[in-house]
Amino acid sequence: MLHIKGLTASIEGNQILKGVDLDIAPGEVHAIMGPNGAGKSTLSAVLTGRDDYDVSGTVTFKGQDLLTLTPEERAVAGVFLAFQYPIEIPGVGNMYFLRTAVNAVREARGEPTIDARSFLDAVRTRMAELDMDPALLSRAVNTGFSGGEKKRNEILQMTMLEPALAILDETDSGLDIDALRAVAAGIERQRHPDRSMLIITHYPRLLEYVRPDVVHVLRGGRITRSGGPELALELEQDGYGPATPIPANAR
């Protein structure tokens, strides 16, 4: 599904990613953990096509060179990012935004667009599953939403866009326990043999609800450790450990 090799990224002369290697197979859920400033959000920005970074290395997604695609082409290819800080867009209705996005993606893929009625039915069902207030549909995108409402709105977009790769950037941050459960259940429902997920998180809390297949530690712009779900628990007890990669012969 996703193959990252030697990925570096710098902004204004500061190198943030210093050679990331990562492979995610279809259906796998990977978690990337790491302290603040490790490069977690830079990784999600580079994968979704923010143009603020100087990037080298290769990223292949379903056989395509991802780094040459525009953000919208990446969405059409099946990449989705749940933003750490969802953007408020006053004056653009949430429902209009959702339908425009879904139909833009369908159109670009040569699929038929969805009429307003069927779309509304589908959105309402997904909103109920996420325990979201239906009134949020007629509001402007994220405008005046609470932190939890914004995060649920991200997951709602994910469920409507049905991506092949969902990147969830600190989706658990700022959520109370009820919101966390609702969001986690929403993510769990999206698990599918053809869908991979990359969960970026600072705290292992979300991983108690969404169990990853592989956990990576990102430190100083590199992946320094990888392991099974038990690694998340170990990190919770012992912290992130040394900043430099552990030499292979010492493992």
Binding site: T48, G49, R50, T70, P71, E72, R74, A75, V76, F80, L81, F83, P86, I87, I89, P90, G91, V92, F97, T100, A101, V102, A104, V105, A108, A140, Q157, L161
Partner: protein, 432 residues
């Protein structure tokens, strides 16, 4: 300006002895003013952002239109939209009965100004501003005396549909023409009315020098839309005088969508105590268009309130400008005056000017003003694109969202949707 030039502009021998007193008065007022004053230049503060030299040199090349051009009702429908209510159409400054719809409306007297001769209200017609508010263009308008509408909404009347006044220019062959439409609107005591004025042209590069004088009497309420969607080569100079008596309320919107050069001046005075005015506007110049709005709110009464909200979307090499003048007269109390101007500058070559101009000569005043000039927000653009929305559409969505706070409340709905089409069309024409 020489007599010869004036004659070229207004046509020879129009001052005959059959014209009504108000017409003779407007003509004399205009002629006297022009004899004593020069035309405005960019050194005049309120003309600073209008390329007035270009307007005046364009005037030198124009002809007065023939009065016999024809245009179909369908063509006008396409230009101005179809809204419930009566419609008065003027083509090249002359009344055009063929495309007008003079359905009687309870409590509303509607006629071409030119017909106000023997009429009982003829003496009360005022189609030029007060002498101390004239400028070269409004004086020229008074002197030229083209036709326009006379609207009188009788005391206490509250028609449920809008009155639509349409001014169409139809240039002949390759010759640019100039028209000077003038209208007079009176909302009598306690009456409620909605009036739409549309300025359009059937192609070409016409010049329009329009003037509208509106009086709202005690407790009257007016919703007024002024819509300028002339072709991209047109030159438009517009003036609207609004006088508000005690407890009168007006909500005026000016939409400047077409024309190479457009300057619209809204000159409002809250004469009576407790008068209240909301003025909003949107200008969307692109390519090399230059759109200017000059607003004056003169707080003459006490307990008066005003609110100006203007937005500009400036694209290509265009220039957009807003001047918002607030005058609070000495001796008034409890005045509230607000002003906001936000503009979106879409290219490095586009330019936006904003100028608050406050003359506060009283103490008991709450006055605020604010202006922002910005680009499309990169983060919002990225967010939309990350959901699969192509760049061009993402930009359109954000631009529409920016203008929506001015356009979303426009009533009737038929006007709102017509404008939305016109704005989309105008913006598409100017894109590189």
């Amino acid at each position: 300006m020489s007599d010869l030039a004036l004659e070229a502009l207004v046509g020879p021998g129009k001052a005959d002895h059959t014209e009504p007193p108000w017409r003779a008065q407007a003509r004399t007022l205009g002629a006297t003013w022009l004899a004593e004053h020069p035309m405005p230049t960019r050194r005049d503060e309120s003309w600073r952002y209008t390329p007035v030299d270009q307007v005046i040199s364009a005037i030198a090349d124009v002809a007065r239109p023939a009065s016999t051009v024809d245009v179909t009702s369908d063509a006008i429908d396409a230009l101005v939209g179809v809204h419930d209510g009566p419609r008065l159409v003027f083509v090249n400054g002359g009344f055009h009965p063929g495309s007008s719809q003079l359905t009687p409306l309870d409590g509303v007297d509607l006629a071409p100004l030119s017909s106000m001769t023997e009429h009982p209200d003829a003496d009360a017609v005022q189609c030029t501003p007060e002498p101390d508010r004239l400028n070269g263009f409004t004086a020229l308008n008074g002197l030229a005396g083209d036709d326009g509408a006379s609207v009188r909404v009788r005391a206490g009347a509250a028609p449920t549909v809008s009155v639509h006044l349409v001014h169409v220019s139809v240039p002949e062959a390759d010759q640019p023409i100039i028209t000077h439409p003038a209208s007079a609107i009176v909302i009598e005591a306690g009456a409620h009315a909605s009036i739409i004025e549309s300025y359009v042209a059937v192609g070409g590069a016409p010049l329009t020098n329009a003037s509208t004088v509106i009086d709202v009497a005690d407790h009257g309420q007016l919703t007024y839309h002024r819509v300028q969607t002339e072709p991209a080569e047109a030159v438009h100079i517009g003036y609207v005088r609004i006088r508000l008596a005690a407890h009168a309320r007006a909500h005026a919107r000016s939409l400047s969508i077409g024309a190479r050069i457009s300057r619209v001046e809204l000159d409002v005075s809250a004469d009576g105590d407790h008068a209240s005015i909301d003025v909003e506007g949107l200008y969307v110049p692109n390519d090399r268009q230059q759109h200017d709005h000059v607003i004056t709110i003169d707080h003459i009464g006490s307990h008066t309130r005003s609110n100006q909200r203007f937005k500009g979307v400036v694209d290509g090499h265009a220039r957009g400008a807003f001047t918002g003048k607030i005058v609070v007269r000495p001796g008034t109390t409890d005045t509230e005056a607000h002003q906001a101007n936000d503009s979106l500058v879409l290219t490095p070559h586009a330019q936006s000017d904003t100028r608050p101009w406050l003359e506060i000569l009283a103490d008991d005043v709450r006055c605020t003003h604010g202006a922002t000039i910005g680009r499309l927000d990169d983060q919002s653009l990225f967010y939309l694109r990350s959901r699969g929305i192509p760049l061009a559409e993402a930009r359109r969505i954000l631009i529409d969202a920016f203008s929506s706070s001015i356009t979303e409340a426009i009533e009737p709905e038929s006007l709102r949707s017509h404008l939305s089409e016109q704005i989309t069309k105008a913006r598409a024409q100017g894109s590189p």
